[in-house]
Amino acid sequence: MKDDIAQRRWLRSLALKLGLSTVAALGLAIGLMAALALLPENARGASESQQVQSDEPCLACHGTQDLSMKLPGGDNLRVSVDAAAFAGSVHGGRLACSDCHRSYSTVPHAPVRVQTRRDYSVAQYEVCKSCHFANYTKTLDSIHYEQLSGGNPIAPLCTDCHGAHNVTTPDKPRAQISQTCSACHSSVYKAYTSSVHGKALVGEANGDVPVCTDCHGSHNIHDPRTVSFRLETPALCARCHSNSNLMKKYGISDQVTKTYLQDYHGVSISLYQKQEGGAQPSRITATCTDCHGIHDITSTDAPNSPVMKANLLKTCQQCHPDATENFPEAWLSHYQPSIDKSPLVYVVKLSYSIIIPFVIGGLSLHILLDIWRALRGK
């Protein structure tokens, strides 16, 4: 009898232990799975194949061509995906549908709470952030984000430049970059393709000339109409135009930045840059683009170049309206003074390089003699 009770007690405690262990094991398993689901994408490399496999249920419906839905605002939102295009994109085989399109785990899906197609895209803006955090953060500094947060719905989102399902490497080929920008900035692109830079890019697939992003940046594109952008212009152009090897290749002077900075305009702009923050410059001073043009910049030999001798006066008159015919020669056209280019300036410089040491040397000698006299007690 006594044994019977003891055995029953033992069995009861065993059942309790088993039950508790099962609950604990189950809890642990669920917890692990949840943790896995929350881990960032790259940390889950091992489970990649299963993830991609999990697209198949989505494609059962969304793989159908021309599947679309009517949004409350009246737009037709196409909800079919070109599986082949996605597979060929940089994300193909790496991301699952649900990595970007979250909260569609139940079928039928919860109703979409947007009015228009654009609203849907804007609502998806943060999706890229979970992997591309650095570039996402950069965009928050950009003129595009400033526009977007100010309520401009057509300001570009990640997907407007990079595509959504068909994301490719943005600079393959390099000309692709400027074409991307041209989707919105078509008139600028047109001017650019007629410029010395754009012609070389589009016509010759030249890898040296700047594309839009070389001057404007890519994700943190700033407003180019600001004073600070203006003040940075010489440094921007100097990145290429002070590069001796690069300029030699095209037979262009690499002294342009130096000669600019030595003269009145350049001195002003360098110092405005230093006083920025404290006091804004009280006036505008000419920088590279004011004389050479911006997107439509041409070779200085081109007949329509604003810095061509025949056109130079008009260019100066933009800021100096009263300037007359002789005025442009006051600027030495990026040349260091030489006997051929500006003899008068050269002769003045040469004369002083002789006079100053001669006079100061002579006076010093006289002083030394006088000191010697004093030392001898005379």
Partner: protein, 241 residues
């Protein structure tokens, strides 16, 4: 009053004011101009930014430049009048004696002669500095005017003149600064018989002893000829006390 404390009045009030004016204006021009020439260096940028930026620095430089031009013009007109009206002797003009004095002085310093030149109101070193400042000032005023009005100038003259004026303005300025630092600093302050400073341009007074030693032809004449007929040498009009 002992003989030692006796002095001549060497500079009248107007001359002393002129010296202080040129001293202040020159310093301000150097302070606002030299940083523009060396605007790439950090000390220059510090001065410019402390003054409130390049626009204000240029404005101050131009205003002071105009004042300098005005003081130079006043001086030239005034001195020309005084000389032509025979109120002063033209003692600043160079003459052959100055060339001789320079040679003799150098030989004296070298120890090849015991003779020491007898100077008039101004010795050749003082004349050199006066004409240096006057001529250099003229260059600075002319080129500064070209730089201040480039559009007006190029209506009549070639544009390269503006660039040449800029070149001349900066180098002439450097020459002036170096001359003052080397020559004036030594001649008026550091020279053994001047140290720490020759104060006569501020007080107007020169001791009788120094006057007779350094400018015997001026003060010797005054001292030994109290009945000297007019015109009296203007700056030393007061008799020694």
């Amino acid at each position: 009053m002992t003989e030692k404390e006796a002095y001549f009045v060497r500079f009248n009030l107007g001359q002393r004011i002129e010296h202080i004016t040129v001293m202040v204006l020159f310093t301000l021009l150097v302070l606002t101009g030299l940083p523009q020439k060396y605007s790439g260096s950090s000390w220059a940028q510090w001065i410019i930014l402390t003054l409130g930026g390049i626009d204000i620095t240029r404005l101050i430089h131009r205003i002071v430049g105009v004042l300098f031009a005005a003081s130079t013009a006043y001086h030239l007109v005034h001195v020309t009048y005084l000389v032509l009206a025979r109120k002063v002797r033209p003692t600043m003009l160079f003459n052959l004696k100055d060339v001789r004095d320079a040679i003799v002085t150098l030989r004296y310093c070298l120890g090849t002669t015991r003779e020491y030149p007898q100077h008039d109101r101004y010795d050749y070193r003082q004349k050199f500095e006066y004409w240096g400042i006057l001529f250099g000032g003229g260059v600075m005023i002319a080129t500064g005017a070209v730089l201040m009005f480039p559009i007006l100038i190029t209506r009549l003259l070639p544009g390269e003149l503006v660039a040449a004026a800029k070149e001349a303005h900066t180098w002439e300025a450097l020459l002036a600064v170096l001359t003052i630092v080397v020559w004036h600093l030594y001649g008026a302050h550091l020279a053994p018989d001047r140290f720490p400073a020759d104060t006569s341009i501020f007080t107007g007074k020169i001791s009788r002893e120094r006057a007779l030693k350094e400018h015997p032809l001026e003060y010797g004449v005054v001292a030994s000829a109290p009945h000297k007929p007019e015109p009296k040498p203007e700056p030393a009009a007061e008799p020694p006390r």
